[in-house]
Structures are given as C-alpha cells and as structure tokens.
C-alpha cells in the first residue's frame, strides 16, 4: 500500500491561514489503513484546527468528507455538489489522490495535509516499512525477493558495497544491509550464481511520468 505521514500541525495551520471555510477530504483506502488520512484522522485534524483557530480568535468552518478512493473518478463524483460552498479543500489522500482532487475542482485551492512517504508493508498496527520504489523493471527474481533499489541505501545492482558492517548498512546500525540479506537468502536457496554475474547498467524507466494502458483498453479520448 501507499504510506503517508500527516504533515506537522503548524504547517497545515499555516497553509490554511486566511481561509474561513474549508472541506477536509479523507481517503478510505491506503492512507486509512496506515492510520493517516481516513475518516478518523480527518475528525482529529478538524478538531485540532477548530480549537487552534478559536484560540487565535479566528474561527474556521470545517467540513469533513471521506470517500472510498481519491485516485478514482467514480468515487470523487459524490463531492461535486459538496465542495461548492468551500473556499479550499484540504486533502488527506496520497499525492496521487490530492492531484486527482485538484484536477477535478480546478478553481479551488487543494492543499495537502499529508506527506506521501512510500510504498510499503504493514509490519504491525501503526508500523510500516518501505519496500518498493516502483522502478518499472522489477529485479526481485534474481535478488532473492529483496529489493536492492529500495532497501540498499545506494540502490546498488552489484552489491554489497565495502561499507557493509556485520550485516548492517553503513548508514546505520538499525538498517540491515540489503545485499547482505540478498546474499544470505540466495545462499540458503543455493542460487548464489544469480548474483555472481555482473549486472549491467540499468536503463531507468522512472524518469518521466508513466502511463499504463492494459491490453484491450483505451484512454477515454481515444475511445470516443
């Protein structure tokens, strides 16, 4: 899932300066699962903002709406009427959702209440870890299911570097060396041959915005 982190309260407050009527829009998918931007987090943020603005003698009227997914047109539709009376929208979705919201209501300022952080896994309630940088050319088949692009601090394709220190990455004793782990897993599977060969320079595929159209589908404008 996509993991996001709520922005510091001060930063959100600063963004909303001058606005008197704002709709906070949560998203019920990834950011709700990681406890950052779902219905409950919208309620907490609104309560905080409400109190803080009152304390400053500058009250703000806040609406709340949490939709299934902000990255999906179908679900945004329900907001069309609702957004009308508001001066601005405060989105708690990931960066993709925020942009889709802004695209749909181009005359409204749409402000981000979260920092989108990574594609990751749920280690435990409230504990998430990054696992993928969506490089568009997955190499997990020959790296023992451990991503060198994401989990190695230098994104090396021919690791480990000389800095690996007793299984830890040179950047921190808390960070396992991805390549040490890749080695260990492949050794256990008797597949070390996979990383004994030299892996050539990578043609990066994530240097421009990417689009995916599945076979049998078309962009809406092409479909017309």
């Amino acid at each position: 899932m996509i993991v996001a982190e709520r922005k510091p309260f001060e930063e959100i407050k600063e963004m909303l300066k001058g606005y008197k009527k704002v709709l906070s829009v949560g998203c019920g998918t990834c950011v709700a699962v990681c406890l950052t931007g779902g219905e409950k987090e919208v309620a907490v943020l609104n309560a905080e903002l409400d109190m803080a603005r009152k304390l400053e003698e500058d009250p703000i009227e806040l609406g709340a709406a949490t939709i299934e997914r902000q990255c999906d047109r179908e679900y945004l539709e329900v907001l069309d009427e609702m957004v009308k009376p508001y001066e601005a929208l405060l989105s708690m979705a990931c960066g993709a959702g925020i942009q889709f919201l802004a695209e749909r209501y181009p005359d409204k300022p749409v402000l981000p209440a979260v920092d989108t952080t990574f594609i990751g896994v749920n280690q435990d309630v409230g504990w998430y870890e990054e696992r993928c940088r969506s490089c568009s050319a997955c190499v997990l088949a020959w790296t023992g299911g451990i991503c060198p692009v994401t989990m190695c601090a230098k994104g090396l394709y021919n690791g480990p570097c000389g800095g690996t220190d007793q299984g830890k990455c040179e950047i921190s004793q808390d960070q396992p060396c991805a390549w040490f782990e890749i080695y260990g897993r492949l050794a256990g599977q008797d597949r070390l041959d996979l990383i004994k060969r030299f892996y050539a320079i990578v043609p990066w595929k994530n240097q421009k915005p990417r689009t995916l159209i599945q076979p049998g589908y078309k962009k809406p404008e092409q479909a017309k």
Binding site: K154, N158, C161, G162, T164, F198, A200, I201
Partner: protein, 308 residues
C-alpha cells in the same frame, strides 16, 4: 599497453608498485597540493586523488589531478558514483583524459549522510562495477554507454577498490571476480590491519586464478597514534583493527607511537613483497604526506623504477 600510464608500465614490467594518496583542499589553495606533491615526488608511481572523500565537498578530483600533472606526478583520478550521473561521468572522463589523466579508480562512494551535505540526493545512477564496465567500453570499444562512437577514445588504466574485511567474507572474492568480469585492470584494497584475514582472501583469489587477471595493490595506512587506531577499529565501517596491533602501539613510549606505526606499516610492505598475488602497495598516509619519503625509504621501495 591499455593506457600507457606509468602505473601500468611499472606493473606490466613486473615491478612491485608503490602508490600514494592525496586529498584535494577544501578551497582553492593550489599551493596546498603543490606542497604535498613535493613530498611525493620520486617516492610513488602514481597518486590517488580522492573525490569528495567521505562525502565532504573538496576541489574537484580531476582539477587536482591537473595540478599533479603540472607538478610532474602521475595522478590516479578517483571517481565516485554518488555525485554524478552517467552523462557527467563520461564527460569528466573525456575531459580528464584530454588533459593527460591516464589512471582511474572507480568507487561507489560513501553515503551522503556521512558528509557535509547530508541531505543531498545521492545519484548512484550506476554503481562502481558498472562504472568499471563503462570506462572499459569507452576505452576498448570506443563507444559511449549507449553505443555511439567516441572520437579518439580515452585510454584509461582502470582501477577499483576491494574490501576483504566486509562481510560476508566468502563473498568478497566473488565481488572481485565481478569487477574483473566488468573489466578492471588493478585493485587497491581497503587499509589492511588484519593480516590473517587478508592472507586468506588473497589465497582464495589465487586459487580462483583471479590474481593472474588483475593487479592487486595492498592498502596500507600507518597508525599515527593509539586514538587513530581505536577510531579506525570502532568507527570506520569495513576496517578491522586487531587488538594486538593496538597493544603493540601502546607498548612503546608515547613519543615512539608514530614511529612504531610506521614500522608496522613497513613490516607489512615487506610481507606483501613476498606474498603471491600481491603486485604492489597503496600507501594511504592520510594527511601525513611528509612522512612518505621516510616510509618509502624504510619499506625499501626506492628508487622507483623509471620506464619509458
């Protein structure tokens, strides 16, 4: 001859190579480099010029290389993958070669967080092994990384580092093998203190026939004092300092520690001269360039061979 560099000639002629190291200034004082050069002249076959070492900004490595050439020394241009993408790397290689640089050391580079710009983006467009291969393709095939022809390709003697002390130990020779497959000509190792581990590593490399395919220069850094030894032991990842080495430094009078450090280094050089698979020593006397003449003398590596 792949590059015709002095270092290549020395190694090819079967001499025991002796290289030095110099860090460019954190500013524009050329005199600082010139002064360090004075100590190194006639003492070493080539001098490594570090590239934003430990991720701290310094004068560009290639620029300091040019000063060395003016001073009559042969530079070994270090290049890290942290600070440039493949375009900038190839451009710098062309430029440096045009100005007379003939050796390169291809490195990954320390992570930015260790340096003076900890929040910088680490480029790592390609890694050190891929860099080796890119330089080789430029030299041997006369082609840029994407296949376009290079007019007058740069003839570079390609070096890389090796660390026999990083885990997993069993993997280290395979990494060396990968560098050879990528096209490396010579290796300079991490500073060696744990001689046992190093002997094992070179033995493995000998057994796999690797030391016949690549020149190996053993890395040596003399200890200046006990504090430095402790620091290297505790703080520098990938360096192993055995306790008995520290005991030996502690065993002499405070004033003699530096001399003892040099003595230990020279004993190491003596052993490396006899060690099968080792073709020279890379002496990293960090901020101790003025001691290099004494070390070279004491290690009996003088005079340096002159080959035309």
């Amino acid at each position: 001859m792949k590059s015709g560099s002095n270092l290549e000639k020395v190694l090819r002629a079967g001499h025991f190579a002796f290289t030095g190291e110099l860090g460019p200034p954190r500013g524009t004082t050329a005199e600082e480099i010139v002064e360090k050069c004075e100590h190194l002249k006639g003492m070493v076959d080539a001098v490594n010029i570090t590239d934003n070492q430990t991720a701290v900004v310094r004068m560009a490595s290639w620029a300091a290389c040019l000063i060395l050439i003016q001073e009559g020394l042969e530079p070994n241009f270090q290049m890290v993958c942290r600070d440039r993408n493949r375009l900038a790397m190839q451009a710098d290689i062309l430029g440096a070669y045009t100005h007379g640089v003939r050796n390169m050391l291809c490195l990954t580079g320390d992570h930015c967080m260790f340096g003076d710009h900890p929040d910088a983006m680490g480029v790592f467009d390609i890694d050190s092994i891929q860099l080796i291969n890119m330089v080789k393709t430029m030299r041997d095939e006369g082609k840029f990384q994407t296949g376009a022809d290079i007019e007058d390709p740069p003839k570079i003697f390609i070096g890389a580092a090796a660390n026999p002390f990083a885990e997993p130990y069993e993997w280290r020779v395979h990494r060396l093998d990968k560098k050879i497959e990528a096209g490396v000509d010579f290796i300079q190792t991490q500073c060696i203190y744990n001689m046992d581990r190093f002997r094992k590593w070179i033995e493995q490399a000998n057994d796999m026939g690797l030391t016949e395919k690549v020149y190996i220069l053993a890395g040596v850094t003399p200890m200046k004092n006990v504090g430095m030894a402790r620091y290297m032991q505790k703080k520098v990842p990938g360096i192993e300092v055995p306790e008995d080495l520290i005991d030996r430094l502690k065993g002499v009078g405070k004033k003699q520690v530096a001399e003892e450090g040099i003595k230990i280094a020279c004993e190491q050089v003596e052993e490396f001269k006899e060690m099968k698979g080792v073709h020279g020593v890379h002496m990293m006397a960090i901020e101790w360039e003025h001691k290099v003449p004494q070390i070279a003398e004491q290690a009996k590596v003088l005079p340096r061979p002159q080959i035309d």
